[in-house]
């Protein structure tokens, strides 16, 4: 299998290293969360992708997969195309999404012509193809992706991200045999990485008492980074400065969920 020329990835340390659209959901003052899987993905991907092995990014919704993909795209030193598969994901719709990510516009072609065109485009220059929500792709689409990888002229490496993608890909045994790296983004662990991550995320969270953060996590966020970001941006609208209080978190969660939480801290 030919190697893909893959110059060293750019370092991604802060949110300033990412394009604005990738961090627009982060509240003012919040920093990029560099969790263990995030660091693993950025550290191990260049070698794996240069061998054109498949990289899988798995994990529950809201745990940082999409942000990690954005970081990977920003770090990569070769052209990157990024597609998102939305249901119902028929073969032609998926191919159209990939084509659009490569060219910027859909072409309204038949599935056969999309396949031909993509094989052509993906064999022209080294590229990284990132496909988010790939768990929505059916078995025929997985097989089509495999055939694209197997094409003798192929010059691209593929990253598939989605909840349950590692299990989903077992359906197509030959595509599974391409996998070189699987990174799983789990919910933050209250007894492990939760508190350090929240302290890194925003200085006001760092100043907030740990028991209160653990309580908010128990009643609402449940380790999901995305939920923490939403709580953070809402809490910031109530208390732009200083450590957050129980009342601020209660108001924020009430605003988000519509019911007042029973915070006991």
């Amino acid at each position: 299998m030919p190697l893909l020329p893959m110059p060293a990835f750019r370092p991604i340390r802060t949110r300033a290293d990412l394009p604005p659209h990738a961090t627009q959901y982060l509240p003012t003052g919040a920093q990029l969360v560099r969790s263990a899987p995030f660091e693993l993905l950025l550290a191990a991907s260049p070698e794996v992708l240069s061998r054109r092995r498949l990289v899988l990014v798995d994990g529950r919704a809201g745990c940082g997969k999409t942000t990690a993909l954005a970081a990977l795209a920003a770090a990569a030193s070769i052209p990157v195309a990024r597609a998102t598969i939305t249901p119902p994901a028929t073969g032609v719709k998926v191919l159209e999404a990939i084509h659009t990510s490569l060219t910027g516009h859909p072409a309204g072609l038949s599935q056969r012509r999309y396949e031909n065109m993509l094989r052509d485009t993906l064999g022209r220059e080294p590229r990284l193809l990132l496909i988010d929500e790939a768990q929505n792709a059916g078995l025929p689409v997985l097989r089509t992706l495999r055939l694209m990888l197997e094409a003798t002229n192929a010059q691209f490496a593929l990253v598939l991200a989605g909840y349950g993608i590692a299990a989903h890909i077992q359906q197509e045994e030959m595509l599974r045999s391409w996998v070189g790296l699987t990174v799983t983004f789990d919910a933050l662990d209250p007894t492990g990485d939760l508190l350090p991550t929240l302290r890194d995320l925003h200085p006001q969270l760092a100043a907030t008492p740990d028991p209160l953060l653990l309580e908010v996590n128990r009643v609402h966020c449940r380790g999901r980074l995305r939920d923490w970001v939403v709580v953070l941006e809402t809490a910031l609208s109530f208390a732009p400065q200083g450590p957050f209080t129980r009342a601020v978190f209660a108001d924020a969660i009430h605003t988000i969920a519509g019911t007042r939480p029973a915070l006991v801290a």
Partner: protein, 309 residues
């Protein structure tokens, strides 16, 4: 690994004992293409309508026939048997089909029948061992399945010197290779051939269409026009049975006309096509529905090629 050439049967099933690695697939693909008379296609996954439509089109591409018109046309009903005239008359000895399991059992059976009719050796290369009905079908045609390693060894073993016809067809062989390796997509190849045909002199244009087109009727009409002694006004009614099975002679009425060697293959292809689509012996050779072709129609077919495919 032995480098001596084995003698495989007419249908060879290549199936791994375990899941092959991506490298194995690459090795197989490269090994297949070491001989231009061996063409390879990969079944496209997913539902296709008709089921074998893309397989027919991809096989024609692999033959170096992406078409010579920019308009993409469905190949009639995309019946696999439409490949028979091309497989029988083009320079091809082996048809290698990757992932035949995606066709399903019935279409695999049709494919085997077409390969037998067309006198090409059919290699069915599976990425994973088949199951159920398909396994039974394949075992019936090839009791001892080959491993990928054995197939690679066979394909890369020294093979006999190419025939004079194969050497003559170097341009076709090159196009076959570039299309099979996806260096050029069939859509681009078709566009380029159409552009070349549009600007070429009539002889070159006719050659391009005969070598790379998917139409049998128009090249056959031009070939008939080149046969000395035939009445141009009667070409539209010349029956299928008038052309000898080997296309060496045309018996029109009481006279028998010798067909020049250079146009025999094109006429043979049209005769085979007529039989495949169900023309009766008395039907006009140049017709596709049994009705005579008018003088104007023949003139159009033999004249400047407007948009053959």
């Amino acid at each position: 690994m032995s480098r001596t050439r084995e003698r495989p049967g007419p249908v060879v099933v290549v199936a791994p004992t375990a899941t092959p690695s991506p490298n194995d697939i690459g090795d197989l693909t490269r090994a297949v293409l070491t001989d231009p008379r061996r063409i390879a296609v990969t079944v496209r996954p997913g539902q296709r309508r008709p089921r074998t439509a893309d397989l027919v089109a991809d096989t024609l591409d692999a033959l170096g026939r992406p078409g010579t018109s920019t308009a993409v046309r469905a190949h009639l009903d995309s019946n696999l048997s439409l490949l028979v005239p091309f497989l029988l008359t083009d320079d091809v000895t082996d048809l290698v089909v990757f992932e035949p399991a995606w066709l399903g059992r019935d279409s695999c059976e049709d494919l085997i029948a077409v390969a037998v009719l067309a006198h090409v050796r059919l290699w069915l290369v599976l990425a994973t061992p088949p199951q159920g009905d398909l396994a039974d079908l394949l075992a019936g045609h090839c009791p001892a399945w080959w491993t990928p390693d054995r197939a690679v060894a066979h394909w890369t073993a020294p093979h006999p010197r190419p025939t004079r016809r194969a050497r003559r067809g170097a341009a076709v062989a090159t196009l076959r290779h570039t299309l099979s390796t996806h260096e050029v997509s069939s859509d681009h190849a078709r566009t380029a051939l159409a552009a070349a045909a549009d600007t070429a002199d009539p002889a070159t244009r006719a050659h391009l269409i005969a070598a790379h087109g998917r139409d049998t009727v128009r090249p056959a009409a031009r070939a008939l026009a080149c046969v000395p002694g035939l009445d141009p006004a009667r070409l539209g009614t010349l029956p299928v049975r008038a052309l000898a099975p080997d296309a060496r002679h045309i018996a029109a009425g009481a006279t028998t006309t010798r067909v020049p060697p250079g146009v025999r293959r094109v006429l043979l292809r049209q005769r085979l096509h007529a039989l495949v689509i169900g023309q009766r012996p008395g039907d006009p050779l140049l017709s596709i529905d049994g009705s005579p072709v008018s003088t104007l129609g023949v003139a159009t077919l033999t004249g400047a090629p407007s948009r053959p495919n």
